[in-house]
């Protein structure tokens, strides 16, 4: 294969995986809550700020450049903290809208996203300005048959596959997963089976937010910077990918992400000045898909919904 093609394919997969990590959370939360958690993108993009704060705290004690070890520790802790943040938001706000009309809950989560963004902006030192986010991997790696490829792409793809595999393992091979799927199928019946719904909601929030955090970290690393308002765009794209695939379907969310990322890559590679129009094409695709498949690509086809 020619080098450029490999490059573009990897680019596509990298972007697709980043989007998928965020989209899967939307879909998972919708499956269980039946509500769009609109601030999910903002939650995911808090993770890089957590990581930066932790890394900076560790540097100030050791005095030096960012070493890989502290970066890894920072990222792992950030993922955990973001998961807990998701649970906290549910406990503070979202659970109060369990039985409210979905529109109320939607607007509440939109307002919640605003609060999160502003909180990051004011609580993080110098939060209004863009912050450089370290590249998780800058080197290139030689792969058999493909030549030299950026390590970052390989890292993103491998990590995403692992994260999604872990998610599927939890959902389909553990008791917790059975309970999550039960609540997603029928809340009342699950309650009758002695499942405590609020614990399931919290577990779902933790899992979705933690996976979103992985996506957020990659998102920031891919861009090289992180800003307090990145969450809007990440959230819109992740949400679109989840809806195009069909809300509630994990596989759909991944397919939707790859589709949007694919179009994104093609537009950037082929149309001159395409970068400024990438969102236009992505969202025209969204409209087009929904015109022909009103409930997403895998919306009703899959009986099992999680």
């Amino acid at each position: 294969m020619s080098g450029i093609l490999v490059q573009q394919l990897l680019n596509w997969l990298t972007l697709g995986c980043i989007y998928a990590l965020i989209a899967v959370g939307f879909s998972l939360l919708f499956g269980v809550l039946k509500v769009i958690h609109f601030s999910h993108g903002d939650v995911a993009l808090v993770a890089p700020f957590f990581a930066l704060a932790i890394v900076q705290a560790m540097i100030s004690s050791a005095a030096g450049t960012i070493d890989p070890a502290s970066l890894i520790i920072g990222c792992v802790v950030a993922i955990m903290l973001t998961g807990l943040l998701g649970v906290l938001l549910d406990w503070l706000v979202i659970r109060r809208f369990r039985y409210a009309p979905p529109m109320m809950a939607l607007v509440a989560t939109v307002a919640l996203g605003t609060v999160l963004r502003e909180a990051v902006r004011h609580l993080f030192p110098n939060g209004s300005n863009p912050h450089a986010f370290p590249h998780l991997a800058t080197s290139r790696i030689a792969l058999p048959g493909l030549g030299e490829v950026p390590t970052f792409s390989v890292l993103v793809i491998v990590a995403s596959v692992l994260a999604v595999a872990l998610l599927f393992f939890i959902l389909h091979r553990t008791t917790l997963g059975v309970r999550i799927r039960a609540v997603s199928q029928d809340l009342e019946a699950a309650r009758l089976m002695a499942i405590d719904p609020s614990r399931i909601f919290w577990a779902t929030f933790f899992i979705a937010s933690a996976i979103g955090a992985v996506g957020g970290l990659f998102f920031a690393s891919y861009a090289g910077v992180v800003r307090f308002d990145f969450g809007i765009q990440a959230g819109l794209i992740g949400f679109s990918a989840a809806v195009v695939g069909g809300l509630g379907s994990m596989v759909g969310a991944i397919i939707g992400s790859l589709l949007i990322a694919g179009l994104d890559t093609i537009v950037q590679a082929t149309i001159p000045d395409g970068t400024s129009y990438r969102l236009v094409f992505a969202f025209l695709l969204v409209i087009l898909v929904l015109v022909f498949k009103p409930s997403g690509l895998l919306g009703r086809v899959i009986v099992e919904k999680v």
Partner: protein, 396 residues
Amino acid sequence: MSMASNTASTAVSRRPAAVDLVTVAGLELGAAAFLRQFLVAEDWRVIVAILAVMGAGFGLLQWRPQIEQRIIDSFARYRVFAIVLGVAIAIAAPVTMADNSYALHLLILALLYAVLALALNFQLGSANIPNFATGASYGIGAYASALVAIHFGVSFWLALPFAAFVATVFGFLLGIPSMRTRESYLALVTIAFGVVIHQLLNNFEWTGGPNGLVGIPAPTLFGHSFASPIEIFGLSLPSQVNFYYLSALLVVVAIVSAHRLHASRVGLAWNALRADELAARCQGINVTWYKVLAFAVDAFLAAFAGTIYAFYVSFISPDNFTFLVSVTIMTMVIVGGMDNILGVIVGAFLLTLLPEKLRVFSDYRILFFGVVVILFLIIRPQGLFPQRLRRYGSEA
């Protein structure tokens, strides 16, 4: 239904007329004075006190629903008087704050947002269609009128219907995918539409790109330029008052159309859609047509507001019409009260003025704003003024 209206009407007849008259006049004058104080207040203690009084007022209504009912009855009894007094207050309002151009500016913005919220209310409130693209229609209206005014020298009065026409065409276009999609999927279609419009305005060269359009000429009427102050009875009112009256007139048009539509078959059909789309379809209601119609009406009104905004500030950029603007309009409808004209207007005023008045909290105001919205949603989940049952016979 008829039982309820009977008891209401007997309660009215038992009370002396003067009490009702005083209630109506007192409430309208009191609300106007209250709003004026809120507009001109700069001391943060005054603003907090005003917010507290308002909170207490809504708390009282929540605690004693019969008070709300009495007020409603008084207004029903003296409708004409209430309308005449309201119009008189609206006309006199700018005189009382002629020296405060910032307060006037806020008032005009609040009026324009009230129109936008009323426009969205046709969809969200009446028909439960989540439309996240009202900001885009607003932008299309503003850009369409500004472009023809700048490039072809078209006057404001011709640009206005032109902008409304363009936006309505886009509204129909947006309505087409809505025929098949519903709920979250429909919400995404409108979000996507809004983002596409915003990105195009931001990227096209002929829309001025991110820099926007500058130098939109001020409208003139019978030789009087809207950029010059109004001279009347030896009184000189700042030029903004021109736009205040224009926006106020638009709000009146919006209220009248909202009222007429609500009372018509169209409003009934929209309410049927809200209750149950499938059942409405089974009753022979052309669901598709009424959905698309709701999009068109929303776009039509939003374009009017957009045109006035463009000519008022004489500068527009894509940043005025982002996704967040649409979200704000949606929040106004939901916080104020869905399908309740007064509620929607109060919501629009509150959410336009609140961030400005929270400037005392400087950088934290948007944070505070988000918190207040969430609190409102939690405390009064039906909105400040809940949607009311349709009453037949007792009104009009």
